[in-house]
Amino acid sequence: MNMSDAEIWTVIALVAIGTYLIRFSFIGLIGDRDLPAWVLRHLRYTPVAVLPGLVAPLVLWPEATGGNPDLPRLMAAVVTVLLGVMFKNLLLAIFGGGATLFVMLQLMA
């Protein structure tokens, strides 16, 4: 990472202020007015619209392998998603995916 301390604190401060304003928006300021249905319909999909895209290049082109697709990481990713979909359990999916990566890296070493 090539960020200075001041830049890191700036990121933290801006994310903190922005996040607070998002949370405060309706509770604090707008209060009784309801959001239009079409806005809510879009906001509902923000996490699934952002997180998969963020993670896709990291899974396909991991920096640790110089950007080359890597079987252990691909398998760990698939196992994590499947466990999450099937059991709706965050920690189970994290540990299952992590264990898959560990075992596969050992096997391929």
């Binding site: 994310v15 079409w38 998969p52 895209g53």
Partner: protein, 234 residues
């Protein structure tokens, strides 16, 4: 015991299942953030100031990738936009609650407190406003210090773990684990696939702009699929 006090204790009790998740998740953030180059103080400060795991992980990942400052902030805030929806849906239940209490409740409005809180308000519509506040704060009274403390423990441990310990994949696994349970409907699945396909297709764009474009399109796809499914049912 007063209604308010009872609501507070109920809030604590109903939050217990989430505690199992929060502490290790916070420690993981502490480890990953210090691995990325944040100091323990910065890592701890991040958790105290933001209390939003997914956005914090996203910001740290982009920091490690040397993305521009504004892109990092925009992406982290995009991850948190869902909280505007939480804020909107919980606001009608907080009529008559003093401003300073609503200001504090906004700070602790996270996925868990929203989910448990809304359920309570819907199932007990006659709850008086002070009890609503007490219940909501109760759901966070253990979660909040655990989030802070877990982060700090992880940050102090993270400094001692060698850089090359295959932790590069901790963030992707964490995100994928968050996404799995979110794939509840066809619309969510469509949005997720759009997000992946477009980000990869647009990966030639500078400054991670491809991700922002992909996320906006994916939100629209999710909303449109939802409308289509609703129309077919009608």
């Amino acid at each position: 015991m007063t209604t308010t006090k009872r609501a507070f204790l109920q809030g604590i009790r109903d939050s217990l299942p989430f505690i199992v998740v929060v502490a290790p998740f916070a420690m993981l953030f502490g480890v990953v953030a210090t691995e990325a180059g944040l100091s323990p103080l910065q890592t701890f400060g991040f958790s105290v100031a933001v209390i939003a795991g997914a956005a914090q992980f996203a910001a740290v990942q982009l920091m490690a990738d040397n993305a521009p400052l504004l892109i990092i902030v925009a992406t982290a805030l995009a991850v948190n936009l869902r909280m505007a929806m939480y804020s909107a849906s919980i606001a009608p239940y907080l009529r008559g609650v003093p401003f300073w209490q609503r200001a504090f409740m906004s700070y602790v409005l996270v996925d868990q407190s929203y989910a448990i809180g809304l359920l309570k308000y819907e199932t007990e519509p006659n709850l008086i406003p002070p009890a609503r506040v007490a219940y909501f704060v109760g759901t966070m009274v253990l979660n909040m210090p655990l989030w802070y403390g877990g982060t700090l423990v992880g940050a102090l441990l993270g400094n001692r773990i060698p850089q090359d310990y295959a932790l590069d994949f901790a963030v992707p696994i964490t995100f994928l684990a968050l996404v799995g349970p979110m794939l509840k409907t066809a619309a969510h699945v469509a949005a997720a696939f759009t997000s992946v396909a477009l980000t990869l297709a647009l990966s030639f764009l500078p400054y991670n702009l491809g991700l922002i474009v992909a996320a906006l399109v994916a939100m629209m796809v999710g909303a449109q699929v939802e409308l289509m499914v609703e129309r077919r049912r009608a």
